[in-house]
């Protein structure tokens, strides 16, 4: 495709359904021959799925389901569900990333986008400038940024206590936020893993996360075996007392 010389469409043009027909030449971007068929097929599949759902609802109506008492969720239901969701999402992303390589944006694309953004910003700024009164008028003098800065400067010069007031107020706000949101540093991963292990086992005191991983692997590969870890000597010593 040649380098485009058309201006980037404005927001109003995007919303105009006939704009594309006016801009594009006939046959410039032909619609694929099976586009309509595929679209209709997708709609039909969606309709079939909706009908299936309705059929399921007739077989097992929601009213019937509501007559059952909801079981008590297990203690780790939320955590395990979230973990499964994360795992599922990660697996899907892996599949996608393994198949696709994201293309780099072309220099032309970047240049076009920046030009369009500049043009839009200029267009938006022009009416505002047009509405501004002449420089030096009373309105401009009271509302303009420069005038506000001058006024603030004059005010602070006139009342030096106000500046310290703002500083103290800011510090107080920072203190409140800090006290509210500050949390102790999270446990390091060595301790997080160790806290999950029974403290009767020696590996629950290892200064490395690896033993907990190996213990879990051993348990996973041979789930009915007794734990292969050694007893923690201090626990065994103190448990006799």
């Amino acid at each position: 495709m040649d380098a485009p010389d058309r201006p980037f469409p404005s927001e109003a043009e995007w919303l105009d359904p006939e704009w594309i027909d006016r801009v594009l030449k006939p046959g410039e971007f032909p619609v694929s021959t099976d586009f309509v068929e595929r679209t209709l097929q997708a709609i039909a599949e969606q309709a079939t799925a909706t009908a299936l759902e309705a059929e399921l609802d007739r077989c097992l109506p929601a009213a019937a389901l509501r007559t059952f008492t909801a079981p008590e969720p297990s203690a780790d239901f939320v955590a395990s569900t979230l973990a499964m969701l994360r795992q599922d999402r990660r697996a899907r992303w892996r599949e996608l990333l393994a198949r696709h390589v994201a293309p780099e944006p072309s220099p032309q694309f970047v240049a076009r986008t920046l030009t369009a953004l500049d043009a839009e910003r200029d267009a938006a700024a022009a009416p505002v400038r047009g509405r501004q009164p002449a420089s030096g008028s009373a309105t401009s003098g009271s509302n303009g940024p420069a005038a506000m800065a001058q006024r603030d400067a004059a005010g602070t010069r006139g009342r030096p206590g106000r500046r310290w007031g703002w500083v103290l107020l800011t510090a107080a706000a920072a203190t409140v936020l800090w006290v509210t949101f500050w949390r102790a540093a999270p446990d390091p991963i060595e301790l997080r893993l160790a806290n999950n292990e029974p403290d009767t086992f020696a590996h629950a005191y290892a200064a490395s996360p690896l033993p907990a991983v190996l213990a879990t692997l051993a348990n996973t590969s041979d789930p009915y075996a007794l734990p292969s870890g050694e007893a923690d000597g201090v626990w065994l010593l103190l448990s006799h007392r």
Binding site: I189, D222, Y224
Partner: protein, 525 residues
């Protein structure tokens, strides 16, 4: 102390860190972000490896520090003890805190005396010394039997200290075994496990106790003055899975244990020493794990599992640290990984996997019979069952599996560090703990030889078996699946130096007969 209770602990931040956070918050609020960032950079958790001292601190100065630490220990003053440290490594410091909390729970309390085992030496910017702590425990008041006797517990640690103008500041204390056969200086070299790594400037090698490591051999390397560490361990898997699969499983297991750990895709990786001429049978992989919940104040942390598979022999290297330390010390990490190499690359793969097991556990299989020369132990497994040696935290483990899915496990538990020998009481206590973890109820069972149950299922001596023995039957609280064994037959054998647990289940009558015969054949001649 109730072993089942796991006290909730939080890593305590020193007061200086709280003040620092507050100042940073105020500066950020006032918009002086650059000043805050600058302050954070100077005092943040990711430390700098500046120009270190030219000489190690003196032994006398270190003894004075140890004396103060012992005083805090004797007073069970956890806060005071930890406040003496300016921790290099948050994880190591947290585990020190966990161990101290356990020791401080003793009643009557331990009293400690610490001595230097080695001369002080410099590693990077720190003075390093090996310390032996002797912990004395008086007999329990009013107690009778073993509890009435005073005990002495010996713990060794590797201690690192920083020389400040105001004095020595401990920055790091990690437990290590009393015996360190495979460590020469900061080089970890094991001929049986067929590898070496280390002797890289700045990296301190701290071997791990095998019971702590869940492996017969492991060590951690710490880049002193930073929060970078590299854990090295040996794993044997007779199925010899490919390195990519091992890396993927390791990453997923870490995520399973800690949901914040986010593993990426495993990728092929080879140790730098073997990239040009890769030995036949050697394969490697690595997987990066994002740890956003660690080192939060300085942008999170990351860990990378490196797997080197040489048949069934696996060398696992876990490098971990804050993202900032990874950036600042990438060359140091590369140097450490480059120091790893196989000692013998032209050897039979099956032999390469069997040799570490024989060397470290003393056991080997001759047909279906297991013989352990270190512990002088034999068990004749069922002839038609498939036998396999395993590695783990225990002194040894062997598994026999029948074609019909019956199992026999033989596990040897060495005397745990901290107690002087096994006895019937400690064996019963540990068996109870093991069965509780496995969801089993235990009741006495008849001796297959005599057909009679000993009085109350107590321990008894059998001629020619060595030690004392006991038979029990385990039944699950609730079956965990259709294939889960419904009844476990166990035989225990205890002697001063070893507790052996042989247990199994059978799916057919023929397997049950074979299992009983195998249990009966356990002996320490």
């Amino acid at each position: 102390m109730n072993g089942n209770a796991s006290p909730t602990m939080h890593l305590r931040e020193p007061a200086s860190a709280c003040v620092r956070h507050f100042v940073l918050a105020v500066l950020s609020w006032l918009g002086i972000a650059s000043a805050g960032a600058s302050l954070g950079a100077q005092t943040g958790d990711g430390k700098e490896l500046g120009t270190g001292p030219s000489r190690p601190a003196s032994a006398d100065a270190i003894r004075a520090v140890l004396k103060r630490l012992d005083d805090y220990f004797d007073r069970a003053d956890l806060a005071g003890y930890l406040a003496m440290f300016d921790a290099d490594h948050p994880g190591a410091q947290a585990m020190l805190q966990r161990q101290l909390q356990q020791l401080f729970g003793a009643r009557p309390p331990f009293r400690r005396k610490s001595t230097l085992v080695t001369e002080p030496r410099l590693v990077g910017p720190r003075t390093v010394v090996r310390v032996r702590h002797e912990l004395h425990l008086a007999g329990a008041p009013g107690a009778v039997g073993p509890a009435a006797a005073p005990k002495t517990l010996v713990l060794d640690t590797m201690l690192a200290l920083r020389s400040d103008p105001k004095g020595l500041v401990p920055t790091f204390a990690v437990e290590m075994p009393a015996q360190t056969a495979c460590v020469r200086g900061d080089l970890f070299h094991c001929q049986a496990c067929n590898y070496e790594i280390g002797a890289v400037p700045g990296w301190l090698c701290v071997p791990l106790r095998s019971d702590r490591a869940e492996s017969f051999e492991a060590a951690s390397f710490y880049l002193l003055g930073t929060d970078m560490a590299c854990d090295v361990t040996v794993h044997i898997d007779a199925d010899a899975p490919d390195a990519l699969s091992v890396a993927r499983v390791l990453g997923e297991t870490l995520h399973e244990l800690d949901a914040t750990a986010q593993p990426g895709l495993p990728t092929p990786w080879l140790p730098p020493a073997h990239r040009g001429h890769t030995p036949k049978g050697l394969a490697g992989a690595s997987v990066e794990i994002d740890l956003p919940a660690d080192a939060v104040a300085i942008g999170g942390a990351r860990a990378v599992f490196h797997v080197v598979a040489f048949g069934g022999l696996q060398h696992l290297l876990l490098v971990r640290g804050s993202r900032r330390a990874w950036q600042q010390h990438a060359d140091d990490v590369h140097s450490l990984l480059a120091s790893y190499r196989l000692l013998e690359s032209d050897c039979d793969l099956a032999l390469a996997a069997a040799r570490p097991l024989l060397h470290h556990t003393g056991g080997s299989l001759q047909g279906s019979t297991y013989h352990n020369k270190t512990f002088a132990l034999d068990l004749q497994g069922p002839a038609t069952w498939k036998a396999q040696l395993r590695c783990g935290g225990a002194a040894f483990r062997v598994v026999w599996v029948s074609p019909d899915g019956s199992h026999l496990w033989l596990t040897g538990y060495a005397v745990p560090d901290g107690v002087t020998q096994w006895c019937r009481e400690s064996a019963d206590r540990w068996l109870h703990e093991l069965c509780t973890r496995a969801g089993l109820d235990v009741r006495p069972a008849p001796d297959p030889a005599s057909g009679a149950t000993t009085a109350n299922g107590e321990w008894c001596e059998r001629a020619g078996c060595g030690g004392q023995t006991r038979f029990v039957v385990g039944t699950p609280h609730e079956p965990s699946g259709p294939d889960a064994p419904r009844q476990r037959f166990m035989r225990l054998l205890v002697d001063d130096d070893l507790l052996v647990v042989a247990d199994g289940h059978a799916t057919t009558d023929a397997d049950l007969q074979a299992l009983r015969q195998a249990l009966d054949s356990l002996r320490r001649p």
